[in-house]
Assembly symmetry: C2
Homo-oligomer: 337 residues x 2
């Protein structure tokens, strides 16, 4: 429960309204278990007295919650950035993966038994009733790469996904590729659409016609990318380069290329998106669009720990950058039809 | 600060000793800021009254601390296992990376400002004074894959590293390999030594002479493994198989093979150790010794949250298992001298 430390004024309000201090606190915290008539009276008194709760930061829990749907390679970078930012500000990071209703209920229970200074939602959405409850408790939330932007109460930090999709595709065009395939992320996540739109725009600007056979719908994961890339590599006129919307998907493309006895980058160029550590360890090291996951998480945490009213209130996009390693090259002789 | 909830008896002890309750609490918590004469008197009274503090679990912080030196691929599996176990028991996991003195001090400060029910040390060692302080506060600790076993107060969960090194090497021997190289982990960590000893024993049992040129000292990381594997692959009589002491090192071997135009597994077999998610995504998918990192972390957390006296008190080793994927095969024709 959020505690409001302006005790004197709460006591005055309670006395004036003829109720207990905890009842005033309940109304302040938006709880439902106060009779309407009582609530109305207390709210009148609060307005009359010009009651202003003290900023919550006067009594911190010392913990920021980082909530994922799943803990993937991607998660490590986020945890690292969040952890460094929090530790420097005297807080710790509590990491939870809340895939499914049971896990979400467990998380809620654990949160109720201790406390939190704020919640970072990472590529995930809580059930609407849980978001409502956090909002009622005045627990601040920030989303890192939100699934959608449908909840106006939740500011978000993301990457410049459209510009990243554009730049990745331009890199392949600059190397001389014209048959460029792409494997998208999960279509329900807005960053997937932004990256695909960037790809489309780059091709259009370069005067390269879009070929629907070279656009595969993925889900950010390995298996679907392996399947989609295999299909593309068996086309009569196969792509000479593939833009995968995540590094993990790029690994699926690597494996498809290996199974088709194609060498990277000689026979096929591959570019990913994310720059997770694995990208640098792939054989050959993966060219990718770096999104600064650690900085995104750091910004979210610092915003939650900022003095009330000075944190983020809208969406912030951090720039992506092209990291050229060894998986992209001009199309080789062997690949011309 | 650890609070002891047996208030009545503490009050009785305080009255009998002629001191305040906080002073009794200080003595119980092993704090230094109590005069020796006062401490002696209180300790006499505690013994006389047969004072027994209530188990701390009556008032949980709801947070278990997971302390790493660095957040690597390896960390994700550990966090996942710890997080699931904690959430099921109504706790959350606070993740910290305490590389270096400054980070360790920051972590200590954040811990002091909130509370913890226990600390899991992952492949890391706190400074002795911090371990002493945690012990004095009666905060339980468990190590997951300890750096050394020099602190008898800290029970540990590890993998059966020696048996894992043995089995990995036997797998390569069973495929017909005789020129088998290994790249070890950081020698200062005891699991590295155990894996190397397993390798040596497997070769000795098979009657294969040890060749010092085929044993490279690594540090668990990619770059040193890439360098060591490159050196081995340029030997006049190069190995036909390499056992890398971590999956990340195996990726270094993959890249060395690629740079030397060797195909896996046709020209070189590679086996790793860990089974991090990346292992399944490597081209080709990596054969490896799985250590159940998630279960190791889960066991550590459950032990810390177990009723007082029922948690782990010694070292526990969980079995490793061979996961055969596509990076190992009988030595090919091309590789015979």
């Amino acid at each position: 429960m959020v505690e409001v430390n302006n005790r004197v004024t709460m006591a005055e309000v309670a006395a004036a309204a003829g109720v207990s201090i905890p009842t005033v606190s309940k109304v302040l915290n938006g709880r439902a278990d106060v009779a309407r008539e009582t609530r109305d009276r207390i709210e009148r008194m609060l307005a009359e007295f010009g009651y202003a709760p003290q900023p919550r930061k006067t009594r911190r829990a010392g913990v920021i919650d980082l909530v994922f749907t799943e803990l993937s390679e991607w998660a490590t970078e986020i945890v690292r950035g969040a952890e460094e930012a929090a530790l420097a500000l005297g807080s710790r990071i509590a990491v939870s993966a809340v895939r499914g209703d049971a896990a979400e209920r467990n998380w809620w229970t654990s949160l109720a038994s201790s406390r939190t200074d704020g919640v970072v939602l990472v590529l995930t959405e809580l059930a609407p009733e849980h978001r409502d409850r956090l909002a009622a408790l005045e627990i601040p939330m920030v989303a890192v790469e939100p699934v959608s932007d449908s909840d106006p109460r939740i500011p978000s930090v993301g990457a410049a996904n459209w510009a990243g999709g554009l730049r990745a595709t331009e890199h392949l065009l600059e190397l001389g590729h014209r048959r460029i395939g792409t494997i998208t992320g999960r279509p329900s996540v807005q960053c997937s659409q932004a990256r695909l739109d960037g790809y489309r725009t780059a091709l259009r600007r370069a005067g390269v016609p879009l070929d629907p056979a070279l656009i595969a719908v993925g889900d950010f994961h390995y298996e679907s990318a392996l399947a989609a890339a295999s299909t593309m590599l068996e086309l009569p006129e196969r792509p000479t380069a593939i833009f995968a919307a995540s590094d993990l998907q790029a690994m699926g493309v690597y494996e498809a290329a290996r199974q088709h006895h194609l060498r990277l980058p000689d026979d096929l160029s591959v570019i990913g998106f994310d720059d997770v550590p694995m990208a640098a360890y792939a054989p050959p090291p993966l060219t990718t669009m770096r999104q600064p996951l650690d900085e995104m998480a750091s910004l979210a945490v610092r915003s939650l720990l900022a003095p009330v009213g000075t944190g983020m209130s809208e969406r912030v996009e951090l720039a992506t950058s092209l990291v050229v390693r060894s998986s992209t090259a001009p199309p080789g002789e062997a690949t011309t039809p």
